[in-house]
């Protein structure tokens, strides 16, 4: 290896491939104007072998500096000084003006988070007092924005409970009541509307979801020759979204629900790319909910209002299920296609279904071990 550590070495010594006439002498220009005392003629040696090409001449210096000041300069130089000072100021001023103009849209930035919110720690690192403070801050924020004081709690998982959801494909008629009940319950943005549940209208005889229709809108459902398959967060036991999150803003709780800390999410949308069930939704803009539509029964990891730029998704209605109620989608279902319960309880409905029904796991091959299962009666 070259001990000269050649990166830094001069390249003057290296010849070119093509041969040019032997050394020529080029006369440079004097740096006369500003450096009269240095006004010697400079010679540039054209190396043998160097291609005749455009060579850049010495610059005529425009900048002023006092280091080499000489008496010859006098009045002339002082004028130049002033001119260059004025010019520099003009350049600087127009630069600042352009910068300010380009940042002008920021004046409309109204949805600032508070300093407390900015500095807040991760959910799992909050002490009891800090959590109390955070809850209080959110309560007053909601009150200020919606004119209603929410019943906001930080609900913890119950001991000995692991939730499982079973959906009866034989019974689902595709009425989408669950979709809208979910939006109302979980304070999703109405404009643009965010929905956690997507119902696919599938032609009988296939499970190829590319053949499914997401935007069906007939007079009445069900339609002959089709079955309906609602898809929402599968609360996987091996969740790809949790694995990929760079900041641990989403994790699996002891009762099997994968939750999001909306105050910690940085909005990179990696989880959205990772989810095989397209269960995650991003707030592309500030969510808007009419004041009279706000559900004041809230949980910290559940349906409290979100800000723009963060992820959200189905959380099995944490604000209901952790206090012993059913999810909103289940309660509204007119056909009883939805079953929910504790899989650790051998006498629960879901335990019965798993033991006795034909259960189908959507995309079982991706190995996510969902807690949301499909079954059929026949």
């Amino acid at each position: 290896m070259d001990a000269q550590a050649g990166i830094g070495t001069s390249n003057e010594a290296r010849g070119r491939d093509r041969i040019a006439p032997p050394a020529m002498i080029r006369m440079g220009q004097h740096s006369r104007r500003l450096n009269p005392d240095r006004g010697r003629t400079r010679f540039t040696l054209i190396q043998p072998g160097q291609k005749r090409k455009k060579v850049f001449n010495m610059p005529e210096h425009t900048c002023q500096c006092g280091a080499n000041g000489s008496q010859n300069r006098g009045q002339n130089a002082r004028q130049l000084d002033r001119r260059s000072f004025l010019r520099k100021s003009a350049v600087l001023a127009s630069g600042i003006a352009a910068l300010a103009a380009s940042l002008a849209p920021l004046r409309e930035l109204t949805d600032f988070g508070s300093v407390d919110e900015f500095l807040k720690k991760h959910y799992k690192e909050l002490t009891r007092e800090q959590m109390e403070k955070a809850l209080e801050r959110i309560r007053s924020e909601v009150e200020r924005q919606y004119g209603i004081r929410p019943h906001l709690r930080d609900l913890k998982p119950m001991d000995g409970v692991e939730f499982v959801y079973c959906l009866n494909l034989t019974r689902c008629v595709g009425c989408r009541k669950c979709v809208h009940a979910c939006v109302a319950e979980n304070n999703q943005s109405r404009s643009p509307e965010i929905q956690y549940i997507r119902v696919l209208k599938m032609p009988n005889g296939t499970f190829d979801m590319e053949k499914g229709d997401h935007n069906y809108a007939p007079e009445s459902v069900p339609e002959k020759g089709f079955f309906y398959m609602p898809v929402q967060c599968h609360q996987c036991k091996n969740p790809p979204c949790v694995k990929v999150c760079p900041v641990d803003a989403t994790w699996q709780e002891a009762d099997g629900i994968t939750v999001i800390d909306y105050d910690w999410c940085i909005g990179c949308r990696y989880c959205e790319a990772a989810c095989p069930y397209w269960a995650r939704r991003f707030n592309f803009t500030q969510p808007s909910i009419p004041k009279d539509k706000l559900n004041p029964e809230m949980a910290y990891l559940g349906n409290r209002p979100r800000h723009k730029g963060v992820m959200e998704k189905c959380h099995f209605c944490i604000q209901r299920t952790r206090v012993g109620r059913y999810p909103a989608c289940l309660e509204v279902c007119p056909t009883g296609a939805r079953k929910f319960g504790n899989i650790l309880d051998p006498n629960s409905e879901v335990s019965y279904i798993l033991k006795n029904k034909r259960v189908f796991v959507l995309k079982e091959e991706v190995g996510t071990l969902p807690r949301f299962l499909y079954y059929s009666d026949v």
């Binding site: 990166i7 240095r38 850049f56 696919l200 999410c265 990179c268 963060v310």
Partner: protein, 426 residues
């Protein structure tokens, strides 16, 4: 100690000072780049106010042209190593001095990468959550956390190597081998790792069959080692033109050999992928079908990918033919390859991963004006950085800006190049 600090400050001051000196073309170039940066900044300010809704991204296609550019630029950054390997492993003297230009390009590329990731965040104010120690870092589970580490590590490595060598050259002292050679070898491995980790970002997603393929990593590397050196070939010729820094044709032709081989490997790997997707013909072919042929009446990516294929094939043919031993043809081939790979690795890789969605829905994506302006702004900023780096590095490497002439103040120093060209004759 005080003297050392003072020396360093003088060095930094003089480097900073020289970045503002040049002829009218230099000012025009820098001025235009600054203007584009400001346009981008303006577009980003709008995005901050309204949210990512000003882009065409959706819940279905949740990454777009930001991440596409990011992916491409990681490749460019990684490819700087293709100058380093010949010099330090195969002791190719021709490229010796040019390594620094390659590494400076890597630094500029990483700066752009960080820019593209930042504008893609929904909550950029929470970036500190990503800082190990202060935030909460999901390491080693998340590939994105790996990416944060390898990208920033690579940035530091390159800054150290170039910074140290340029500083030594300025002081006219011999660089201490132990203080940079180990880092050079670490940087070689690290360069491979940044692009591999970026590929794993996609490869690790089991729910996205288009990305979930082992060949993505090797393809990333092959295309990076095509586009990166191709960019360096063009950059070196520009440096040669606007300064009197001498760069030999032989150095450029060495790089041509690298581009040539990588491009052939790249095309070969592409054929492998196409065969696997289309010959098997299972349901997972849908994304590839959407990309190359269109799916259920949706054709948004067709113009992109077929342009890329045409450019890449033309570039391959040119590179293989002896014609590209002449710089004119080589430049054309490089330009075609860069654009082709930018499309293929950007839009052609990111978007079809999302189409159709995991639930079989087809939502198309094409960048909005605001999004495009932000991208242009970041590119302009990267070029601005690279120009400034070169503006500082070239005079130092030529010995025109050195400790020896410190006493002559920076503007009295006549050896600052970059003014109007004058014929070398007479």
């Amino acid at each position: 100690m005080n003297q050392a600090v003072k020396n360093d400050l003088v060095f930094i001051y003089r480097c900073g000072r020289i970045a503002f000196e040049g002829d009218w073309r230099y000012y025009l170039w820098m001025g235009s780049l600054t203007a584009i940066c400001l346009l981008g900044l303006n577009a980003y300010a709008k995005q901050l106010v309204h949210g990512l809704i000003v882009t065409d991204m959706s819940d279905q296609v949740s990454w777009g042209v930001y991440i596409a550019n990011f992916t491409f630029l990681v490749g460019v950054a990684a490819a700087a190593v293709m100058l380093v390997i010949p010099v330090y492993i195969y002791k190719n003297e021709e490229l010796h001095d040019l390594v620094i230009f390659g590494e400076l390009l890597a630094v500029a590329a990483i700066v752009m990468c960080l820019g593209f990731v930042t504008v893609d965040l929904g909550r950029p104010d929470r970036f500190w959550h990503l800082i190990p120690g202060i935030g909460k870092f999901n390491f080693p589970s998340s590939m994105l956390s790996w990416d944060v580490i390898v990208l920033n590590g690579y940035l530091l490595l390159n800054l150290h190597i170039c910074g140290y060598l340029i500083y030594c050259r300025y002081r006219d002292k011999k660089p201490a081998r132990w203080f940079y050679i180990p880092f050079v070898f670490i940087a070689i491995l690290w360069a491979i790792s940044i692009h591999t980790v970026t590929a794993f970002l996609y490869v690790g997603l089991g729910g996205r069959p288009f990305w979930n393929s082992a060949i993505v990593g090797p393809r990333f590397i092959a295309s990076a080692f095509t586009a990166g050196p191709a960019l360096i070939i063009l950059a070196l010729q520009i440096i040669r033109r606007v300064t009197d820094y001498r760069i030999t044709d032989r150095a450029l032709l060495t790089l041509r050999a690298i581009v040539q081989v990588s491009m052939l490997i790249n095309v070969f790997l592409l054929l492998n992928e196409l065969f696997k997707e289309f010959y098997t013909g299972n349901l997972h072919v849908a994304a590839a079908k959407y990309l190359y042929l269109g799916l259920h009446g949706h054709y948004a990516l067709l113009p992109w990918i077929w342009t890329a294929i045409a450019l890449n094939l033309t570039a391959t043919v040119l590179l293989v033919l002896p014609a590209s031993r002449s710089l004119r043809w080589l430049n054309l081939a490089c330009a075609l390859a860069i654009v082709g790979i930018w499309i293929e690795k950007g839009m052609g890789l990111v978007v079809p991963g999302f189409v159709p969605s995991p639930l079989g829905e087809i939502v198309e994506y094409s960048p909005t004006l605001n999004e495009t302006l932000i991208c242009l702004g970041i590119w302009a900023f990267g070029l601005l950085c690279y120009t400034i780096f070169l503006r500082m590095a070239v005079p130092v490497l030529q010995g025109k800006l050195s400790k020896a002439n410190e006493s002559e103040s920076s503007c009295a120093n006549p050896a600052v190049p970059l003014p109007a060209p004058v014929e070398a004759q007479s």
